[in-house]
């Protein structure tokens, strides 16, 4: 077997275990794992712990990595479970205050008493171009940071990870679908306004 061919052949489980190299995982994927965790749990020390736990778990289960996904996807998959577990636990200790969200209502500030825009959305031109600019991602990240913690967590799980309503209700211990949707609606309006103010028409 030629060397070039060998490099492209998926590793058998035994080979994968033999090839497990957590130091290399840390070098290659450490920042990506850390960024993933930090976006969702916000506390740097917690995010660091999760990266460590993920790599340790990966080390213990390297024989289950069969090369069907990329190494990065495999590691992120492990990390995602750890993040969800962490959020479930911390939400149990400090439940979301649904009533407050409901009372404040999502229209507060954005519309006048007749239901018209208090401040109309402006023209964003061609926003697609922003996706190519690193500075845009910094602005989006800053805007997410400004959200109240519970809304930021909810938004990240919904839009970054694509969790559906039922799963969100379970993880975040929210009992009312309507409240959940109202909270998401408020969050999107706030993010929209923040992006407009800080990127599209500063």
């Amino acid at each position: 077997m030629g060397v070039g061919v060998g490099a492209l052949t998926p590793l058998s489980p035994g080979q994968a275990a033999a090839a497990a190299d957590p130091a290399a995982w840390l070098d290659v994927h450490g920042d990506a794992l850390y960024a993933y965790a930090l976006t969702r749990v916000r506390v740097p020390a917690v995010a660091e712990d999760m990266v460590q736990e993920t790599l340790l778990a990966a080390l213990g289960s390297a024989d289950r990595f069969r090369g069907e996904s990329t190494e990065r996807t495999w590691l992120i998959g492990i990390l995602k479970h750890k993040v969800l577990d962490h959020l479930r636990r911390s939400i149990r200790e400090q439940p979301l205050d649904e009533q407050v969200e409901e009372d404040t209502g999502h229209v507060a500030g954005y519309f006048d008493h007749t239901g018209h825009w208090a401040d109309q959305p402006g023209a964003w031109g061609d926003p697609e171009g922003a996706l190519q600019q690193e500075q845009f991602w910094n602005v989006l990240s800053d805007c997410m940071e400004r959200l109240p913690e519970r809304l930021r967590t909810l938004y990240a799980l919904r839009e970054l990870d694509g969790l559906e309503t039922e799963e969100l209700m379970r993880v975040l211990n929210i009992s009312s679908r309507n409240n959940l949707w109202v909270m998401l609606s408020r969050t999107r309006l706030q993010l929209r306004q923040c992006l407009e103010a800080n990127w599209f028409s500063p």
């Binding site: 850390y34 976006t39 519309f111």
Partner: protein
Amino acid sequence: MNLAIKCSELARLASEGRDRGLNWRERLSVAVHLLFCQPCLRLRRQLDFLGKAAKSAGAGEAPIAGARLDDGARERIRRSLQRRGS
């Protein structure tokens, strides 16, 4: 049949349409409102864009804001891996 909705309701439906299926009446109300309301049409497009941006951020295609392991953290993790590995 009254399909007229206010901008505040449009905003709620435009958002909820991303989280649940709207019924035909809601969809029709949205479509009619968007025919005549430029600001709400912008809102809908901007929410679409926001969703797309967030999704690529979630997929790790975009670097979210300089989140990098500093040297101290890297070293701590490296040591714990060595302990376990040996």
